[in-house]
């Protein structure tokens, strides 16, 4: 069924189709509409679940730990400050190997306070042991929801995951989307039947502490599960395409990369703008292409090397800064290439911070900057783009 709806409504409906047992919520802009719509579904009898209003994001995710350990499929969503407040819980969820799925609406982190979009929040928790997949548009965010439950709940994976979607740009946009069919989702996503739960008939201890003789082994097994998720993400993405007819590549997707000399690498809603810019530039004869990162964790190092091996210059475009170094994506990207024979120059841009709009002209300017590397070499490896002249 194709309808024009607000992004947040579409996500709420996708969550409904996944039949969560427990939904735990706390309001924060621009995530709030998702959980409001879910509460309406519950109030109207369209979603049969336990829906709890908790007193903080810290408790929303914490309560899902209890529900998940008791055997429930669980859902929450958050953004920005809420995600930061969850920081401690994020590591705990992944360490306890609980397959919680969360919509992370991307928003900047204070100070200065800003409710608008960038990706500093989720990039800041990249090491927390959660699978992170970034949606290009509302449709992808919808489709990722059942996919991530399926990936996370696989007994070989048991790793939490977040659907990352840009705040306002995707949550508040009205665009036509294909709704998921509840019955088809039920077939695609089997019920969650965990092997280990809190059960008085068979009492088990969860969350024991590990001294130095065991801690490494816990982390090793967690690391291996995240490694296994690479193949699982690709497999579930293929399976989704077979059932629902919408394909997304795998850990990455590419656009106009066949003969691209200038390769852009980015993730999230900016992908759509970059594609538009590429169409324009291609019609002018500029050989530019795009690699869209879908899965940032696990990081698709091998896929990036394969996709980018023939490019002459690579430019990352990202909505975050690792203060004291550069953009996190830029660092990861360069790292992926270091031990390979590929010696393509790589530069990076931080853009769209705190909701600054990025249009086609900005993408063109970054492509122009990247093309200069071909002639003059790297002048600036990392640049915060579009800064007011009075600050320069």
């Amino acid at each position: 069924m194709r309808r024009v709806v607000e992004g947040s409504y579409a996500i709420a409906d996708a969550v409904r189709c996944c039949s969560p047992d427990v939904v735990s919520v706390y309001p924060i802009t621009p995530q709030t509409h998702i959980v409001e719509h879910l509460s309406e579904f519950v109030a109207d009898g369209k979603l049969d679940c336990e829906y709890i209003n908790v007193e903080s994001e810290f408790s929303s995710l914490s309560s899902l730990i209890g529900a998940s350990v008791a055997g429930a499929r669980t859902y929450t969503s958050t953004t920005s400050q809420g995600l930061a407040l969850m920081f401690e819980v994020l590591y705990n969820v992944s360490g306890m190997r609980l397959p919680i799925v969360m919509t992370t609406v991307n928003r900047s982190l204070s100070a200065p306070l800003s409710i608008w979009n960038d990706q500093q929040d989720s990039l800041g928790v990249r090491d927390s042991g959660w699978i992170q997949i970034y949606a290009e548009n509302v449709q992808e965010a919808i489709d990722l929801t059942p996919m991530l439950y399926k990936i996370s709940e696989d007994p070989q994976i048991l790793t939490p995951s977040m659907v990352c979607m840009d705040g306002f740009i995707l949550t508040h946009v009205y665009e036509p989307v294909d709704f998921l069919d509840e019955e088809m989702v039920r077939e695609f996503l089997p019920p969650y039947r965990p092997e280990h739960i809190l059960d008085p008939e068979n009492p088990k201890t969860f969350g024991a502490f590990a001294d130095p003789s065991w801690f490494t082994e816990f982390k090793y097994l967690q690391y291996q599960a995240m490694e296994r998720s690479r193949e699982k993400i690709a497999e579930v993405t293929r399976e989704f395409e077979e059932v629902f007819g919408r394909g997304y590549g795998g850990l990455i997707d590419t656009y106009a990369m066949d003969d691209a000399e200038i390769a852009l690498v980015t993730m999230g809603s900016i992908v759509g703008t970059v594609k538009e810019a590429i169409d324009d530039l291609r019609s002018e004869g500029v050989k530019v292409g795009l690699v869209k990162i879908r899965s940032y964790r696990p990081f698709p190092g091998d896929e990036l090397k394969r996709a980018l091996k023939d490019a002459s210059v690579i430019a990352s475009i990202e909505k975050d800064i690792s203060m004291g170094y550069e953009g996190a994506l830029l660092t990861d990207l360069k790292g992926a290439f270091y031990n390979s024979s590929i010696r393509t120059p790589i530069i990076g841009f931080a853009v769209g911070l705190g909701g600054r709009d990025i249009g086609i002209k900005h993408v063109r300017a970054m492509v122009e900057r990247a093309s200069r590397v071909l002639d003059a070499g790297i002048e600036s490896e990392f640049e915060i783009f579009d800064v007011k002249p009075e600050c320069l």
Binding site: S62, A70, A208
Partner: protein
């Protein structure tokens, strides 16, 4: 005798009051019980992987979130139709009075059927005896040391039971390991409550309080007999029961046996503090009608 649901072999100190409290609580709650605990002495002494003292299902997540974790357990049980299972939180006073109080307030507010049990040893004992909101007035801790300008903790103990009552929690009680029959009865009553319950159990800490080994139960009894700790029960916000004291003892009898109060009998100004503590005990006796 029935096997305890809290197995021996845990690493709590000899003379620790906490395991006694846990055994009594689990004994009253029975095997159809799920427990969530915060980080703290109980967690580290009972669950060094791959061992566990818990013969009931048990979950630990973080220091400040057991009330939220238990909330999730309770709603999941409701979802699966398993509403006959007891859900308990058992945590220390640092988690309860201080860092986890927001989550506790939320749990109370939402009306979950959970009994929150605080084993109260009146400081952060797991990290080495730092002051918590539960530390008594002028007790010496490692962050409220005594010195030329200090007689220990400058603030009185926070009244957590009153905070629970103020939330409209249907069952609130204070209890002590020195009165096991009373404690078990309170746990059983809490589990019959139609909503959340809060039980605070005085559980002396041999290292933090610094008293003679073997005196644990005696310490727990003395704080009640001096009226420094009233054992109360509130049902639907109404004080329904207090533990009556036959012969009220002077607070010195309690204070002088503990290292954390030793300075009050040596330092300048100590006598005034003892008098203040006596006044607090007298006020408790009056307010709660503790004397027969």
């Amino acid at each position: 005798m029935q096997e305890s649901l809290f197995a021996p072999g845990h690493r709590a100190c000899a003379g620790c009051g906490m395991p006694t409290a846990i055994k009594l609580v689990l004994d009253a709650a029975g095997p159809n019980t799920i427990v969530a605990s915060p980080t703290g002495c109980l967690e580290v002494t009972s669950t060094p992987f791959p061992e566990s003292s818990w013969r009931v299902p048990w979950v630990h997540s973080l220091f400040e979130n057991p009330a939220a974790v238990a909330s999730g357990v309770e709603v999941a049980l409701k979802r699966f139709g398993k509403t006959d299972t007891n859900v308990l939180v058992i945590g220390g006073d640092g988690s309860t009075f201080d860092i986890g109080i927001g989550a506790i307030s939320g749990m109370f507010d939402r009306g979950h059927r959970i009994t929150y049990v605080c084993y109260d040893n009146e400081a952060y004992m797991n990290t080495g005896v730092q002051r918590s909101g539960s530390t008594p007035f002028c007790a010496k801790t490692t962050t409220t040391p005594t010195g030329k300008l200090s007689l220990g903790n400058p603030r009185p103990k926070k009244d957590m039971a009153a905070i629970a009552v103020a939330h409209g929690v249907p069952y609130v009680a204070t209890a002590s390991i020195a009165y096991p029959v009373d404690l078990r009865r309170k746990v059983k009553r809490s589990l019959e409550a139609d909503g959340p319950a809060y039980i605070q159990i005085n559980a002396p800490c041999i290292t933090g309080w610094s008293f003679e080994a073997g005196d644990t139960i005696e310490q727990a009894r003395l704080v009640v007999e001096t009226c420094l700790l009233p054992l109360c029960e509130y049902v639907d916000g109404v004080l329904t029961d207090v533990k009556k004291i036959r012969r009220k003892k002077p607070v010195e009898e309690y204070l002088k046996t503990q290292g954390r109060f030793k300075h009050l009998f040596r330092a300048e100004g100590g006598a005034e503090v003892v008098a203040q503590l006596q006044a607090m005990a007298d006020a408790n006796a009056e307010k709660y009608g503790l004397i027969d």
